[in-house]
Every structure is written in structure tokens, then in C-alpha cells.
Symmetry: C2
Subunit: 211 residues, 2 copies
């Protein structure tokens, strides 16, 4: 939950978790953030956004892990080792990066209700643990149904004029903040980039709260 | 010290620490690696190499932290926070990246003797803790003198026909291994990239030794 700006209290500092459902390191962070945040009493707001427009501004047509094959090769091995260590399923996707715009629009709706994090985690598992096509409406519907929701109805809502423009607005906000990759954790103006910085971001928020 | 290839023993698995004296995250790793490796009984071989030719192959004229200003801005803040946490001096260099080729040639000589790590650490401190021009022969000499060496003599040796080509040879070897950034830790064929992976690399080496 987000607190009103300009009204700092003992509980006012949380972490904004900027995430992409196409991002391997978001998969790792999403699997870890709830328990780590709870242990520190830190509130987390999940904020889906799309990396495409941000990469495009850098002149990149796709993920740097595709444009730089050596870095890409390393990334897959690194993620595999991390999944091993976390006991997290890993199956290298046959398509990368997968288009997650439709799933991300649904996630945005869910993040303003209660089921956003569970939905995001399920989509990330489908993408990186099961090699399923998360751009397919049928896959999105199936995940929504497992959460007890009406897939077609929620998807239609996410594409409605009230909701559809919000993913772009969130992405514009990410740009404004200087975000250049996912996952990114923001604690006020303080930026922490990557799954490796999750604990540091949460610790920063916990310390800020006490000031 | 490096062990003979093809003769695995209980002690045969070490870590190759591929480093650049122009690299901020090498500064962090160089300050931490000795104690962490000693605690695990893991041998470390320091291997200076230059990033320039590797970036050039990616079509980059300089560091990605310069080419991508948002990532660069983040990097400086991230390094500053890390130095705070480690109690390591930090002074943002007025020139980045600094040309470290001459210093790296000297470091290569030192890494085959005993003083390579101490020299590399002193150059990194000069660059990132004191904002000194590590491309200047006078600065390199001063650091060598502090280590009890004859600066001009060692520098001349590092530029001699026997030594000078070796930095390029090491950089070619780094390329062959698929290295794309610094610091990189190699445990056999297993790659670990970045200061954040130092502990994981050392743990991997310690476990491999026991196999």
C-alpha cells in the first residue's frame, strides 16, 4: 500500500518494486521479496513497467542479453545457479525476451487489488520455470483462473480505456526516475538496481523509517 | 599461485581474478578478496586485462557507464554506498574511465612476483579513493617506490619486448573465455561476473576442491 506523499511517519518509508514479467532477475527477486520485506516490517508496492521503450531510448532493439551474446550466455548460467541455490524451478525459455505487455496490463490491475503479486509470480514461473508462452491470452487466463478470477473478464478490464493507458504512464514514470533495468527498487529517491540489491534496499527502507 | 593444468589435487582449484585498474567494481572486489579467499583456503591469481578491446568489439567507444548516463549516474551512487559500507575511501574521479594501460603492464609484472596485488590495490585507491591520475608515470612511480621498488626501472621493464605484449595476450585470453566486464572470477570454466559474485565464486572453488 502506498502512503500519502509529504506526510512522513514512523511507517511511511516503503519500497517500490519496479518489475518486468519479461525479466529473469525479476523472477528471482519476486520469489524472495515477500519474506525479506516481512522480516524487516517494510511495505512493498509492486509496480509493473515495460523495458522496451527504455531500451529503445538507448538505441537498443531488444534486451542487452540478446544484443551482447556473451553477456546473455553468462546471464542464463548465472540465473540457473541462482535458481538452484533458491530451490526455484528453472527452464530456459525458448523465446527471450517474451512479450509481456498483455500480462503486465493485467498485473497492473492486480497490483491495485490484492492479487497482483501472486499473479506476477505465477507469470514469471510460467515464463522462466516452465517455458510457457506468457504472451498468449490462454496462458494468462489459466493463471487468473487458478487465482479464482474470471480470466476473460479481467483481461478485458485491463484493456479498457480506464486501465490500458496506465502501463505506459507507469513506464514514463520509471523513465522519469532514471530507471534503466529491472528489477529496480526505489526507497524515496534512492535507487537500487537488480536482484542483488534487494536486501540493501529493504535495509535502507527499514533504517529510513527509524530516522 | 597457479597449479599445473591437468593435475587436479585437493588443492588444485583456485580463482582467477580478472581485473581492470579502470574499473570501480574491481576497486571494491580488490579490497575484499584476500580476506575472503584466505577464510576459505582458496588460492587467487590476479590477472590484469584491458576492457577497451572488449568494449570495442561490442561497438562501444568507451565504458557503458559513460555511454548510458542513467546507468552511470546509478553506478557512482552504488559504489559510494558500497564504499561507505566497507569503510573504503571514495572520491569520485574527475576523469572516467582513466587510461590504466601503463599501470596494468606494471601490474602484470608484479602479479608474477609478489607485489602485484598490493600495487593493484594502491592504483585502485589512487584512482577511486584519491582522484589521482593513474595514467601519469609519476603517480605509478610513486606507488612503486612506496612498495620499495625502483619505479623507473620497473616501468621500463614492463614496457620491454619481453613484457609489453603480454597485456594484449591476457586480454585476448579474456576474450576467448567470454569475459565481457570486470571484475570477473573464473573457477575452471565457471564464470562469475562482478563484485557481487565474489563470495559465490570463492565458495564454488572451495566446494570444487572437495570433490
Amino acid at each position: 500500500m502506498r502512503m500519502a506523499a509529504g506526510a512522513p511517519t514512523r511507517h511511511s518509508v516503503g519500497v517500490d518494486f519496479w518489475l518486468s514479467l519479461s525479466s529473469t532477475y525479476t523472477y528471482l527477486a519476486a520469489s524472495r521479496i515477500d519474506a525479506l520485506a516481512a522480516a524487516r516490517g517494510v511495505a512493498v508496492r509492486w509496480r509493473p513497467f515495460t523495458l522496451g521503450p527504455i531500451f529503445a531510448e538507448l538505441g537498443w532493439s531488444t534486451s542487452p542479453f540478446v544484443l551482447q551474446p556473451q553477456k546473455g550466455r553468462y546471464m542464463w548460467r548465472d540465473v540457473e545457479r541462482a535458481c538452484d541455490a533458491l530451490g526455484l524451478r528453472f527452464k530456459r525459455p525458448s523465446v527471450f525476451p517474451r512479450n509481456s505487455v498483455a500480462a503486465m496490463r493485467v498485473a497492473l490491475v492486480g497490483c491495485e487489488r490484492s492479487w497482483g503479486p501472486a499473479f506476477a509470480r505465477a507469470v514469471l514461473l510460467a515464463n522462466f520455470g516452465e517455458n510457457r508462452d506468457i504472451s498468449a491470452p490462454s496462458v494468462i487466463d489459466e493463471i487468473l483462473v487458478e487465482l479464482g478470477l474470471d480470466g476473460a473478464l479481467v483481461r478485458a478490464e485491463s484493456e479498457s480505456p480506464a486501465w490500458r493507458p496506465r502501463l505506459r504512464a507507469e513506464t514514463d514514470e520509471a523513465k522519469r526516475l532514471g530507471i534503466f533495468g529491472a528489477p529496480t527498487f526505489m526507497v524515496g529517491d534512492e535507487m537500487f538496481w537488480g536482484n542483488d540489491r534487494l536486501e540493501q534496499a529493504l535495509d535502507w527502507a527499514a533504517r529510513s523509517r527509524g530516522r
